[in-house]
Symmetry: C2
Subunit: 424 residues, 2 copies
Amino acid sequence: MSSLQDQIHHIGKNARAASRALARLDSKTKNAVLVAMADELIVRLPDILEANAADVAEAEKNGLTKASIDRLRLNEKRVADMADGIRQVASLPDPVGEILRDWTQPSGIQLQKIRTPIGVIGIIYESRPNVTADAAVLCIKTGNAVILRGGSEALASNLAIAKALQAGGFNAGLPDYSVQLIPTKDREAVKIMAAMDQFMDVIIPRGGHSLIEAVVAAARMPVIKHYDGICHVFVDRAADHRMALDIALNAKCQRPGVCNAMETLLVHRDIASEFFQLASPELSKNQVELVADPAAHQILAALGYPKLREADESSFRTEWLDLILSVRIVETLAAAIDHIEIFGSHHSDAIVTNNEASAQEFLASVDSATVYWNASTRFTDGGEFGFGAEIGISTDKLHARGPMGLEELTTYKYLIRGNGQVRK
Amino acid sequence: MSSLQDQIHHIGKNARAASRALARLDSKTKNAVLVAMADELIVRLPDILEANAADVAEAEKNGLTKASIDRLRLNEKRVADMADGIRQVASLPDPVGEILRDWTQPSGIQLQKIRTPIGVIGIIYESRPNVTADAAVLCIKTGNAVILRGGSEALASNLAIAKALQAGGFNAGLPDYSVQLIPTKDREAVKIMAAMDQFMDVIIPRGGHSLIEAVVAAARMPVIKHYDGICHVFVDRAADHRMALDIALNAKCQRPGVCNAMETLLVHRDIASEFFQLASPELSKNQVELVADPAAHQILAALGYPKLREADESSFRTEWLDLILSVRIVETLAAAIDHIEIFGSHHSDAIVTNNEASAQEFLASVDSATVYWNASTRFTDGGEFGFGAEIGISTDKLHARGPMGLEELTTYKYLIRGNGQVRK
């Protein structure tokens, strides 16, 4: 047995023990813990910025991209935002203990289905050090112990943040080992975590495809995957063209690098010429490069669209995460639904139409976490859903689908009260 | 690529296609399909019994135990019971389409969280051929395609049952490939199924520890495990002794081979002598062998308990599934809770007490799917919970915990209706 495995199992064992104590904390204590964590982040601001400066210096030495370094960099404002985020989570209602159902059976036993913490949650993430605080506090709020594994380039920053959370929490009554961070850059740690189902109940990987793939391959416990999205907007023949264009522009351009941004625009052939006539000047003004199927390419080329190329087999399976958009003309609503089933990632897909029957057909048939009628896919977000906080957006179907808030970090158990009932 | 893999992937691909059509079937059609399946089982009774006779003959030749052969054997009554079970599922309410939540956000988008089928469910089971029908119809009722993999000793029986379900369903409008059975005894099939996450959404293994272990090791998709149970009854010092004994007798003796039977009896030291004086004649009358820790052993030996031996390290981790019972005396309520945490399997655990504070402490602290106060652990069952049907009892915490009925075979999606909303 490697000593890395020993070390990580030790972390797991301590987390399991902490989770039992955590599950019994009342809401008031948990909220006091969160506020103390936020306060301690501010107290330790100099330490955090110093650690972060070391990470940034090493990242620059290692030639990381400017965008990556920007994501990594902390400053006073970013740490203050982290602390504010924690205080906001403290102010949310506690889902633990909620009675989900309450009934009596003919045998006389009284049943309650109540919401409980899951136990120990592992979170594996990349890049932004603020996830260390965000993820930890959502777990603590829901009474779960958490084992964090951040990106190797942010290790010093993450350790400094975790230390602040631990110190603040400890003073306010947080059980030891409730929040732990894997203190190594060794990638083997991910596999060891994913395999220790004796100590962890679920693992949530947030990051690139290869990270998630590594977790899925090694996991012996439930994985709630946060794959990115290949999201579609379908402009039906009965669409309001202006509305369709506004939605498309928002879904593509407002923040192209996120998972709920549109990657493919599907347009009904009956209105394709007219729609592209309206759309192409504005898409072009927004610097969007179009990757078009032959039918759309013909129309767009005739309109003189400046940044245009032909789609190939892989285009419609590509998550551009950039100002690039796949475009395809479809013959029917059914063809649009089929395209989404075949090429999509079941994240967020929209239809724009004034025909209610077509909308209902789309809403019923598209098997995605979030299906839209006449709104932008960009609304797939815990905040926009009113969840108050979000640990991410699940692309899985089991346990949690779509934006994951506090409730999605809980499970349930049945409490049964009797007066001596035995089974006949 | 092996041809077995090709064959199973082909089954998976067809199931995925079927699941899309199935998800759109209305409740009336699904119920008609189920009734037609039940009818066809009766029509094909001779074929089913003939196939089963061949399985039984081979099992006898292979020297299977009498109990295994009894589980395998079908007769007219058992097939009729299967058909009745199907008709009962047809009469239950359809959970698909249920609106779980309905709200509007300040942005003006209207959100609905609605219950949907999961997609394609794989079920791996052993022994009893009736599971082929039971599991298939629960999946069809909830709009899921199902891939079944039964025990190799029941292959001919399972194929005959599946054929009847397919033929009956087809006549009533069931999409092709909605119910498929893996037609091979090759154990490799289990691994191939567990790895094909492109075609299956979840896999549910029901059977022995080694089967479940093989699935967990190979799985790339969520596994809802149905491990057996190490269930406890704790007789508190404030227990009604007669009630405690009745519950213990029921939990141990009524059906010792099932997962919700008690395996360990914990007794508070303050009342241990008195309780065992009452209990030992009745436990003895029921032929229960006791495996006792030193303190309990001393008392029971003094009482002349006939079938008594000393517990060792492994006794309290053993699922006897027989008229054998581990017995331990504990000093405190907290020690009982600790014992259950360390040695239990988080399935079903009970306290017998008249002290409400102790009961509340036990209910809150024991992290099991079902926690009882003054009732037998044998009630952990979909029927006893009023679910109408059950596909099994999950020992997992994610997605489904405890008895799994129809609702637990569904997921949800969000439908969002707007009038042109874009994200700010």
